[in-house]
Symmetry: C3
Subunit: 343 residues, 3 copies
C-alpha cells in the first residue's frame, strides 16, 4: 500500500466486489463503521451493526446488496461482505517485511537449500538438509531442525521451534512460541517407573495452515502427525502425536486433541474444547467451548459439555444438589412407585 | 543487598513498618515462620499460621498490631503485613543483573534508540525504529519487532517475542516464552475455506503490568488490544484481539479472554476461567476457577461455573443422572400434578 | 542404528525379551501390526489389536507369552510387551545428534563449566557460573541463567528458557518453549494496586524428568519448587511456585498445579486437570480429565469432575434444568412430605 492509500476501484477488483461510486476515491485504511473517519473504508458484515450505517463517516462501505438500498454513499457490493473485508485486509497489511536473503547473522547449515527469494532473519538457525521454498520468511531466532522442509510463501515468525523432519506446505503461517515436532507424550509404565517411547515419526502440515502462538504439534510415535490443508489453529492449541486433522478444521485457543485421534474436515473446536485419544470424529462436527469429545462421533452436528456460569451463591446451591443427584433420582422413583401404588 | 544482610531499621523504613527492637539487627534473608533460622526475617500475614509465631527461630517478624502483643521478639509492625512482606522481597532480590549497555552479540537495528542506561542481552534482536527506555533490561534471545516501544525500568526476560507496533509502558515485567502482538484469530469462511483477516492493529500495555511465561496477547484486528496499568497476568494466559483489560485486573494461569471483550478494573480471573468474545464485564468481578463468563456482566461480584470433584465412582453416579435431568424434571412436575389432583 | 538395521537377537538382548526365531534377522524399523512391512518389527501390547496379528506383514513381533502360541512368525517374548516396545524405540531413534563441544556461535560465559563431552548448540546463551554435565546436549537458541546447573546426559531442546538458579538432575529431557524458573504469580493487594512479591527461591528438578513443550515450572517464592525424579510432564503444563511433585507422577497437557501444593508419588493427572493451591495430595491419586482437586486428598484412587458431552440440543435441555436443581430438590422434598402426610 502506498502512502496515499489505494483507489476504491482497485480494491473492488481485488476483493471481487461491485463498485458503486468513484473508482479514483482514495482509501487510506480500513475501519469499523463506528470508528471510521474520512478516508476510511468500513464494512457491514453483521446485521447487528446495520444501524451504524447511516451515521458512519467512512468514505466507502463494503456491504451486501440487501443493505445497499438504504445507503447513499460509495459502496463495494459483495455477496459475502465479511469475506470481502477479509480480502481487503491483505491490501492494507503494512507489517514489516524482512529483506530477501539470508541475514549475515543467521546460522544456515551448508547443506540447507534456501530459495534465493526467501528471507532468513538474524540469529535464525537452519539445520542440515533443510529446504526453504520461494518467498518464505523465517523470523529472528527461529530454529529449524535437520531435514525439515518448508514450502513457498510461508511466514514463520520469530522464536519458533521446528524440530527435525517436519514437512510444511505452502503459504503456511506459524506464530512465535509455536513448537512443531516435539516428542509426543509416550511412556510405558514399568513397575512405577516411566520408560520413554522415543518418538520416531514426523509432522506433516498442509498448505495454507495457520498455527498460533505457543501452539504445539507433536511428532508421531511411529507414523506422522498430519495437519491437512487449510486448518487454522489459534494460540495455545495442543495436537498430540499421530493425530490427523482434516481440511479446513478450525480450533480456538487451548483446544487439545489427544494422541492418535482423527478429526474430520470443516470441524470447529471452540476454546478449551478437545477430544480424547484414539477416536474418530467425522466431518462438520462442532465442539462447543470446554466440550471434550469423549468417544468417536459419526454424526455431524454440535456437541456440548459445559454448564453456564451463574452468580456464585446461586451456583453453589445448585452445585451442592448435583452431589445428591443420584439420591434424588432414587427418591423420585420411589415417589412414583408410591403414587402408582396408591392409584 | 550486601553480603552481610540489611539492618532491620533500614528494612522498616523501606517497607513503611514500625520498628520494635534493635535497628542495627542484621537480617540475612526472608523466610516463613516455620522454616526461619537465626538471621531471618519472617512474616505473619495469614491468621492460620499464628500458632507458628511462638516457636519461630526468626530474628524478627513482620506482623500486624493485633498479633504483636503476644510476641516478645523484634518486630516490624505493619497495617498490612502481607503488603509489607511484598515490599521487603524487593530488598532481598538478588537475581542477576545484566550489565548496562548493548551486548556485543546483540543485533540492534541502526534506527533503534536504546537508552544508554538500558541493557540488551546477547542474541537479542531489536528491529528498526524500536525505542527502549532508561533502565530497561532485555534478555538473551528476545526479539522486538519494528516500531515497538518499551518504556523505562522494564524487565523483558530471555526468549520473549514482541512483534511490531507493540507499545509497552514503564516498569513492565514480561517473562520468557510470552508472545506480544501475534495475529488475532480472525478468518472469514468462504464456502468452507478460511480467508485470513490480516490483523492491522497493535498492542498497548500500560505501566506496571506483569505478563507471565508463555502468555499471549494478540494484536488488534483494526484497533489495538489494550492492557491497562497494573494488570497482572500469570503464565499461559490468552488475551484475544481487541480485548481491553481494566486497571489492576488479575488473571491466573490459562485464563482466556476472547476477542473484542472489555473487562473492567480490579477484576480477578481464577485459573482456567475466561470470558467469551464481544461482551462487557464491569469492574470488581471475580470469575472463579474454570468459570467462563458467557454474557456481559454489569453487577460486581463472584461468578462460578465449575462443579466440585468427587471420587470417581460417586461422581459417575451423579453425572449419569445429569443426563436424565430434563426427564427427571418432567417426572417431578407430573408427580406434583398427580398429588394436586388427588388432594 | 546402522543403515542396514539391527539384528533381532541384538534387539532381544537390549530389551530383555526371549527370542524365538533367527537371531540374525535384520530389522529395519519399528511399526504397528497393521502398517508393518517386511523388515519391520511390530508389537502387540493391547489385546484390542490381537486380531491384527495373523495378518501382519511384520518380520517379527514383540508380544506376551499368552499371545505367542497362536503366532508362527519370529517373535520377541516379553513379560510386558509395551515396556519392551518402549525399550526398542531407543534403538531406532535416529534423531540428529549435535556435535560434541561448544558451537562457535554459542555464547558461553567464561565462568561457566561445560563438560567436554557436552554439546552446546549455535546461539545458545550460557550464563555465569552455569555447570553443564557430561553428555548433555543444549539446543540452538536456548538460554541458561546464571548459576543454574544441568546434570549428565540431559537433552535440552532449542529455544528453552532456563532462568537463574535452576538445578536439573541427570537424564532430563526439556522440550522447546519450556520455561523453567520464571517468577511465580505472587502479589499482595495494596488498596487495589498489586505489589509484586519478588520470587527469591529456585527450582530443583530430579533425574529422568521429562518436560514438554511450552510447559512452565515457576521458581519458589522463598524456598524451591521441586520436581522429583521420574516425573513426566506433557506440553502446556503449569507448575506453580513452591509446588512439590512426587516421584514418577505423570501430567498430561494443560494440567495445572497451583502454588504451594504437594503432590505424592505415582499420581496421574489427565489433560486439563489440576489442583488448587496449598493442599496435599497423597501417592497414587488419579485426577481424571478436567478434574480440579479442590482439597487435600489422603485416600489413593480416582477423582473426577467433568461431565460427559452430549449433542447440543439434548445437553442444553439438561443444562437448563441444572439451573433449577436446588428448586427441584426442594419440590421433591415437599412431595415426599405430602406423600408421607397422606399415607
Amino acid at each position: 500500500m502506498s502512502g496515499c492509500g489505494l483507489a476504491l476501484g482497485e480494491i473492488a477488483r481485488h476483493i471481487g466486489a461491485e463498485l458503486r461510486g468513484d473508482p479514483e476515491l482514495r482509501i487510506l485504511r480500513l475501519n469499523t463503521l463506528r470508528d471510521a473517519e474520512a478516508g476510511d473504508l468500513a464494512f457491514l458484515a453483521n446485521k447487528g451493526y446495520r444501524e451504524q450505517l447511516a451515521g458512519t463517516a467512512a468514505s466507502a462501505v463494503i456491504l451486501g446488496a440487501d443493505d445497499a438500498g438504504g445507503f447513499a454513499g460509495a459502496a463495494l457490493l459483495a455477496a459475502d461482505p465479511y469475506v470481502a473485508y477479509a480480502r481487503a485486509t491483505a491490501l492494507f497489511d503494512d507489517s514489516p517485511r524482512e529483506a530477501v536473503g539470508i541475514h549475515t547473522k543467521a546460522m544456515v547449515d551448508a547443506s540447507a537449500r534456501i530459495d534465493p527469494t526467501a528471507s532468513v532473519g538474524p540469529l535464525a538457525v537452519i539445520g542440515p538438509e533443510v529446504v526453504v521454498g520461494p518467498g518464505t520468511r523465517i523470523g529472528a531466532g527461529t530454529s529449524i531442525g535437520a531435514g525439515s522442509r518448508i514450502g513457498a510463501r510461508c511466514r514463520i515468525a520469530a522464536n519458533v521451534a521446528v524440530y527435525h523432519r517436519v514437512y510444511i506446505g505452502d503459504e503456511v503461517v506459524v506464530h512465535s512460541g509455536a513448537v512443531l515436532g516435539a516428542d509426543g507424550f509416550g511412556f510405558a509404565n514399568d513397575g512405577g517407573r516411566w520408560v520413554k517411547i522415543h518418538q520416531l515419526g514426523g509432522v506433516v502440515i498442509g498448505d495454507r495452515v495457520e498455527i498460533g502462538a505457543c501452539t504445539t504439534v507433536d511428532r508421531g510415535a511411529l507414523g506422522d502427525t498430519v495437519i491437512e490443508a487449510g486448518v487454522i489453529l489459534d494460540n495455545h492449541v495442543q495436537i498430540g502425536h499421530n493425530v490427523r486433522l482434516g481440511e479446513n478444521t478450525a480450533m480456538a485457543a487451548y483446544a487439545a486433541i489427544a494422541g492418535s485421534t482423527t478429526i474430520g474436515k470443516n470441524c470447529v473446536f471452540a476454546g478449551q474444547s478437545g477430544a480424547v485419544g484414539h477416536i474418530r470424529v467425522c466431518d462438520n462436527v462442532i465442539a462447543q467451548a470446554r466440550c471434550s469429545l469423549s468417544k468417536s462421533i459419526s454424526r455431524p452436528g454440535s456437541y456440548s459439555g459445559d454448564l453456564l456460569m451463574e452468580e456464585t451463591p446461586r451456583w453453589r446451591r445448585n452445585a451442592a444438589r448435583f452431589r445428591q443427584l443420584d439420591e434424588m433420582a432414587k427418591r423420585l422413583k420411589k415417589l412414583e412407585g408410591n403414587i402408582e401404588h396408591e392409584s
